[in-house]
């Protein structure tokens, strides 16, 4: 019995290979399920939308109540089916973190997105990370403020670019399994059937 098996067996869970598999963005680069990932920058929504399009199951999107800007399902439909979205509105940071943890731990979600101000600290991220490991969902935290030292598996910096062909640039700024790189990104449209099934095409690495 390998180390991983033991870890899951201890928590009374059965390891399902399909569920904990990673989401592959490109050869050699993947975003692991059952982990928490942080996303920063003004292009975070595009990154998250692309990833959600690549996983299956319901999407729990935890945000704050009374936000002026709302997600536009019309626009998200280009990335994934908006009927998968379940919006949860927390009143404060504690609500959002709690809801995110519950959703990650539960097996009812394929992907859990949390909108946070500052990034989760070590203790918060560790709780989220453990919850994600138990539930097997893809955990994504969108950071509007500053990132802190955290136990998240990866941190992506996603910035919108002034470029007609590649409107975004994604960088891995932190990765626990040593993945590195920067990419120029072209979004594809699920509805128009581009790059079925709605994959993100990544341009060749411009840096790293």
């Amino acid at each position: 019995m390998s180390n991983t098996d033991l870890k899951y067996a201890d928590r009374g869970m059965v390891f399902e290979p399909g569920r904990h598999a990673s989401v592959r963005l490109e050869d050699g680069v993947s975003v692991a399920r059952g982990k928490l990932h942080e996303v920063c920058g003004n292009g975070s929504l595009g990154f998250v939308a692309c990833l959600v399009g690549l996983v299956e199951g319901p999407v729990i999107w935890v945000g704050y109540k009374g936000q002026r800007a709302t997600l536009n399902p019309d626009g998200l439909a280009a990335f994934f089916d908006p009927s998968r979205l379940i919006m949860v509105r927390g009143l404060n940071r504690a609500d959002v973190l709690w809801a995110g943890e519950q959703a990650l731990r539960h097996r009812g979600a394929g992907c859990v997105v949390m909108e946070l101000g500052d990034g989760p600290d070590l203790r918060e991220s560790r709780r989220l990370q453990i919850a994600a490991e138990e539930g097997g969902a893809l955990g994504l935290a969108i950071l509007r403020g500053r990132a802190q030292t955290s136990a998240a598996h990866m941190r992506w910096q996603c910035e919108a670019q002034n470029n007609r062909d590649y409107p975004a640039r994604w960088d891995i700024t932190k990765s626990k399994d040593g993945q590195r790189g920067s990419w120029r990104v072209r979004y594809t449209n699920r509805v128009r059937g581009e790059n079925a099934p709605g994959l993100v095409s990544l341009a060749s690495a411009s840096a790293a």
Binding site: A69, A78, G108
Partner: protein, 495 residues
């Protein structure tokens, strides 16, 4: 032949309080209600009646006559609940019991009375049992519902029986009030000089109908049985509840959970019998010192599994402060709905929705179900109105989203944000949003939307521009053509 027993409880509201041990009922006491724009006495107890209080009197008059009079306002919902409880009690006498609000029960006793040694013995038995419960009753037995009610209401004694086929003769001496027709009709009959129901027998129904309306004829034929007047038995609504009282108070969370588990098993067994589930459960915890505490949990879909009830109650139970323990518990299922059973193992997609529903319940019970939302598509052309937001427990997933048109922003401001234009233009060459300056590199538009004139809201034409800024982000700008000075708003952001 049908035999109907009508059980009329003339002092039901009053005796409800007596049974509760209300100390006010020991002296002169009356139940009052607001009628004809005044508080009037509807029921008075024996002491009050002795002092001269009558029903229908206004409360100030009654107080003037009897200064010691105490009163309580009528409480129809509780009285109905009490009558409903009596209806359950009356089940022992007849398989078919109906409610006749506000204060009567109807028992179909055809083929039943011989079990109680005849109708008279049965009625006496019922009256005696009610007296034991401190309830005054009047009983009428007849072939029809209306006649039984009239006998109970206007009969000579507390028990009057019209033997089979004798209804017409017995009813003849009843006052006109026994007719179940609008009050105005009865007044007309009385004004004409009719005093008893028997007076009407001599008149041809056709003439009666022409002069007083068909209601009078209908009421009369219902009394005599010419017209069917069935006892509509209301099926006893099954109550999905269980309670437990303990000899000693308990306070440990694990003990409380054990009690809850046993209660939940009982309730769920009953729910499963009927293939039902409940969307809400309430638990009453009666503490020895602080009284009743009512806890609620909700579910995203009808639930009939004890384990999930216990798990959802864990959080509210943990928050409950029990100092000296609790010794009485009641768990009841509310919002009972049929359960659609499915094979959960074979259909993977369904198992997923079960897990999701469970998650929604967990989140909703803590945050509130109004905070768990879902988008539904709406057939409108204005971008901000193309979708609606509903509670996730209500909305049905899987609605069709069609987005085969131009690229849409992923983020939308419900109230477009006003922009500070630095270099004007169409669209502005540079603008400030959230203290950041953006320079427009390229723009496409306008995308023009005419207002929804049938809506009584913003009736301005809108122009949307897609803008690529030098800084990177792509925005959706909004302006109202023709407005002076031209103002620009931020309507959304693209991915």
């Amino acid at each position: 032949m049908r035999r109907v027993l009508c059980l009329w409880l003339p002092h039901l509201p009053l005796e409800r309080l007596v049974r509760k041990g209300d100390a006010r009922t020991e002296g002169p006491f009356a139940i009052i209600a607001e009628q004809k724009s005044a508080w009037r006495v509807t029921h008075a107890n024996a002491l009050a009646v002795q002092a001269g209080v009558t029903e229908g009197q206004s409360l100030p008059d009654a107080r003037a006559i009897c200064p010691a009079l105490l009163s309580a306002p009528a409480d129809p919902p509780r009285e109905q609940a009490f009558l409903y409880a009596l209806r359950r009690w009356a089940d022992q006498f007849s398989p078919s019991v109906a409610l006749q609000p506000p204060e009567a029960l109807l028992l179909d006793i055809a083929g039943v009375s011989h079990l109680f040694d005849g109708e008279r013995a049965m009625a006496e038995h019922i009256a005696e049992a009610l007296t034991d419960m401190q309830l005054t009753s009047r009983i009428g037995i007849a072939d029809t519902r209306a006649a039984a009610w009239a006998l109970a209401r206007f009969g000579d004694g507390t028990l009057q029986i019209a033997t089979e086929g004798q209804v017409k003769a017995v009813i003849a001496s009843m006052p006109i009030e026994a007719l179940d027709c609008p009050e105005a009709r009865r007044q007309e009959l009385k004004r004409t000089g009719f005093k008893t129901v028997g007076d009407l027998y001599a008149i041809r129904p056709a003439d009666l109908a022409r002069r007083y309306g068909i209601e009078v004829v209908n009421a009369l034929s219902a009394l005599t049985g010419y017209r069917p007047d069935p006892v509509e038995q209301s099926a006893l609504e099954p109550s999905y509840a269980a309670r437990m009282s303990l000899p000693e108070p308990i306070g440990l969370v694990s003990d409380l959970q054990e009690v809850l588990k046993r209660l939940a098993e009982q309730v769920c067994a009953r729910l499963r019998d009927k293939v039902m589930g409940a969307r809400q459960f309430s638990l009453i915890v009666r503490c020895v010192d602080t009284g009743d505490h009512v806890l609620h949990v909700g579910f995203a879909k009808p639930c009939d599994t004890p384990a999930s009830i216990v798990s959802q109650f864990t959080h509210p139970l943990g928050k409950l402060k029990i100092q000296f323990g609790a010794d009485w518990f009641r768990l009841s299922a509310e919002q009972v709905e049929p359960v659609r059973n499915r094979q959960m193992v074979l259909e993977h997609a369904d198992a997923e929705t079960d897990a999701t529903a469970q998650l929604i319940s967990t989140l909703g019970n803590r945050l509130g179900f109004d905070r768990i939302e879902r988008f539904l598509p709406r057939n409108a052309h204005l971008p901000p109105r193309r979708f609606s937001v509903t509670e996730a427990t209500r909305g049905v997933a899987g609605a069709g989203w069609i987005s085969d048109r131009d690229e849409r922003p992923v983020l939308l401001f419900q109230e477009a944000e006003p922009l500070e234009v630095e270099k004007p233009g169409r669209p502005p060459q540079s603008f400030v949003w959230k203290r950041d300056t953006y320079h427009v590199e390229a723009a496409s538009g306008p995308e023009r939307y005419t207002p929804e004139w049938w809506q009584d809201r913003d009736l301005r034409t809108r122009d949307y521009w897609r803008v690529q800024t030098e800084e990177g982000p792509r925005f959706w700008l909004l302006t109202y053509p023709g407005a002076k000075p031209a103002s620009w708003y931020l309507a959304g952001c693209f991915a």
